[in-house]
Amino acid sequence: MNNELEKNKLSPRRRLVNFLVHLMLAVLAIIWVLPIFWIVLTSFRAEPGAYTSTFLPKGYTFNNYIKLFTDRNVLNFPKMFLNTLIIAIFCCIFSTFFVLSVSYSLSRMRFGFRKPYMNIAMILGLFPGFMAMVAQYFILKALGLTEGSAIRIGLIIVYSACTGLGFQIAKGFFDTIPRSIDEAAIIDGATQWQVFTRITMPLSKPIVIYTVMTSFIAPWVDFVFAKVICRANADQFTVAIGLWNMLQKEYIYQWYTCFAAGAVVISIPIAILFIYMQRFYVEGMAGAVKG
């Protein structure tokens, strides 16, 4: 009751506060959206070069996008796109299987290695990622996976091999499914495998989608591992290295607007996926905080 009254008859002071809050939010929102707005503008800019004397472009064109997908001579973006797509598809299959398997086992099964595994995962998480990466390169080299198209296999391995350590979010989700549903299925005659595939998986669609998407996105946005493992093999570059290269001194004048176009091209699907997934991200985090 009280609240209703207050709402209908805002005091002048309250109104001022509300106005200021909304003004502040508007300013902040502009700060946050401006760089994204600017990159979209740049991707349509007609004049080349990274640095211009005006903030807004003088002319607009669609040629940056066309150049990005047709110019195969200097920086072969279509090829990079294909490379990344292949890697992403395989990586997605393996990582999803790894993450879901480990999460399900840790959430639903009880075995002696369970606690040690979780502790080991925590300890390994404290090492800087690069430490393993440099040595991974040597191991891949010893296995002959650092030359030619074998680099793709190398990258797939690097991206998916250790995903079994990232079980927290999916495990948190599985933990929320009542155990009695599993038990009912077991009494109904299901094996653990059947519980996994016919009960838990259908009930966990959101987290399965989340896992598939995150593992699909990973190769598109990583440039560090890719750079270390590809080294100078230009025909094996992924999109991220390509974009990174476009900003290097030798290319930046010619390619800067194409970089913007490329950034827009890969950002749109990822942004859509991310906005769709943020719900699971929040839920997963809440779960991780709780447990």
């Binding site: 309250r14 939010l25 640095y51 430490m131 040595a135 191991i139 250790c162 350590l165």
Partner: protein, 448 residues
């Protein structure tokens, strides 16, 4: 009672002939106790191990202490009238082979223990029940009560081969002279803790840089973690206010900025803040400044810029995570405080913040760890620069980015490994201290 425990001691003391023999011929205990296929598989493992050891393992182990001695040589070939290169020892490969061999040996020891215990268990089962699972039943169990073995084997192998082995390999490098310094890239030696003392010694060049970088890393991690945390929380609370209109719209605006891949936004930021970048041009056009601001050229400017940009990146994340938790704060707490006459600022510091700190300690720890290891932000924004002449570490380098520069750019592998180990040690200490003192940890204790 005691004899029933299937451990190696009991297996050796009370096992029958097969069980005891399997100490020498692995798998015999299983073959003798009606699990022929499994036993043969274990036996095959042993044979493969023996083959491996004689083929290369023993050699690899023998080479480990010296890490190779023969340098690459140039020999004059009389017949062809040219110089020929004779490949010398490659210490890095020798070290890798040695580490791998150690892991193989460890694996066979584990397998030996498991099969000893298992043989004894089988023997007992056969004595008591007269029946042991057939191979078919074992396979079926792998999809039922032993499903975790089926599901976890591949991921564990992946982690072992591509995380644990590389880490051990990298750690072992810290104790060698493997570095571009003094041309030790092909042939290097063990050198004990010398690299550690170099890094820790404040008077040396490397040591001075290390303490410098470490100091900045910690300052950065504290700022990055807590500023993001508090500002993100305030933003979440402002958006969640009862009187705020268009909550979903505001949230969308902020989420949009993290939906774009981080490396893209970071590179754009880098360009925008260059002397002739968009920001400087905008400010100059508006007449606010006369000469460009040195965002990346001056160490202090660079540091502040990085922290501010990290806030720009981090706040939406914190907002996302905290929105959910905020709604879980019991409303009675607020009402009680309001009754007691507390203002909004007091409520924030007396109720919201303590509650959030209590609930989100694990999240804070993981974000602190994440920030210490935050490679992307530094590398893409400032590249660690500005760098003074003669230094390998720039003024904004973190331990991780320095580690990257030392190993990938400079090829000072041993120093890189030491830095990596130091980072791990620091993180472990921080994590343990905060975790031990956190409410969640004590709570778990109380819960037990």
């Amino acid at each position: 009672m005691e004899n029933n425990r299937s451990n190696v001691k009991n297996a050796l003391l009370h096992g029958d002939l097969y069980t005891r023999l399997s100490a020498v011929v692995m798998g015999l205990g299983m073959i003798g106790h009606k699990q022929v296929i499994k036993g043969c598989m274990v036996l095959l493992c042993q044979l493969a191990f023996i083959f491996f050891m004689f083929d290369s393992g023993i050699h690899a182990l023998l080479m480990m202490p010296s890490l190779g001695t023969r340098a690459q040589e140039k020999v004059w070939n009389e017949a062809k009238q040219i110089y020929e290169y004779i490949a010398g020892d490659n210490s890095q490969q020798i070290l890798l082979a040695g580490v791998v061999t150690c892991f193989v040996i460890a694996a066979i020891i584990v397998l030996w223990i498991i099969q000893m215990r298992f043989s004894y268990k089988l023997q007992k089962e056969l004595e008591e029940k007269g029946h042991v699972p057939t191979f078919k039943e074992d396979i079926r169990n792998l999809f039922d009560k032993n499903l975790h073995i089926t599901l976890m084997t591949l991921p564990c192998l992946g982690i072992l081969i591509f995380n644990i082995v590389p880490l051990v390999y990298m750690i072992s490098m810290a104790f060698t002279t493997y570095s571009k310094e003094d041309e030790h890239l092909m042939l290097f030696d063990w050198c004990g803790l010398r690299q550690f003392s170099r890094v820790l010694n404040m008077k040396g060049n490397i040591g001075r840089q290390f303490w410098h970088v470490l100091g900045w890393t910690i300052v950065w991690a504290i700022f990055a973690t807590f500023l993001n945390y508090i500002l993100g929380m305030i933003l979440a609370m402002v958006i969640n206010r009862r009187d705020t209109k268009g909550k979903a719209f505001w949230r969308f605006c902020f989420i949009l900025s993290i939906a774009v891949p981080q490396f893209v936004t970071l590179m754009i930021m880098n360009i925008m803040l260059q002397p002739s970048g968009a920001v400087n041009i905008l400010l100059q056009n508006l007449g606010l400044i006369s000469s460009p601001l040195p965002f990346w050229q001056n160490a202090t400017w660079a540091r502040i810029t990085i922290i501010v940009i990290n806030i720009w990146i981090g706040i939406p994340y914190t907002m996302l995570q905290i929105t959910g938790i905020l709604q879980n704060i019991p409303a009675e707490l607020y009402e009680a405080a309001k009754m007691d006459g507390a203002g909004p600022v007091k409520i924030f510091f007396k109720i919201t913040l303590p509650y959030m700190l209590f609930v989100t300690t694990p999240y804070l720890i993981s974000s602190f760890v994440g920030n210490i290891n935050n490679f992307g932000v530094i590398y893409l924004l400032s590249g660690g620069g500005p760098t003074y002449v003669g230094d390998t570490a720039g003024q904004t380098d973190l331990l991780v980015t320095w580690l990257y520069k030392l190993t990938i750019d400079q090829q000072y592998y041993n120093l890189g490994a030491v830095i990596g180990i130091m980072t791990f040690v620091i993180l472990t200490i921080v994590t343990l201290i905060t975790y031990r003192n956190s409410g969640s940890y004590k709570n778990e204790e109380a819960f037990m």
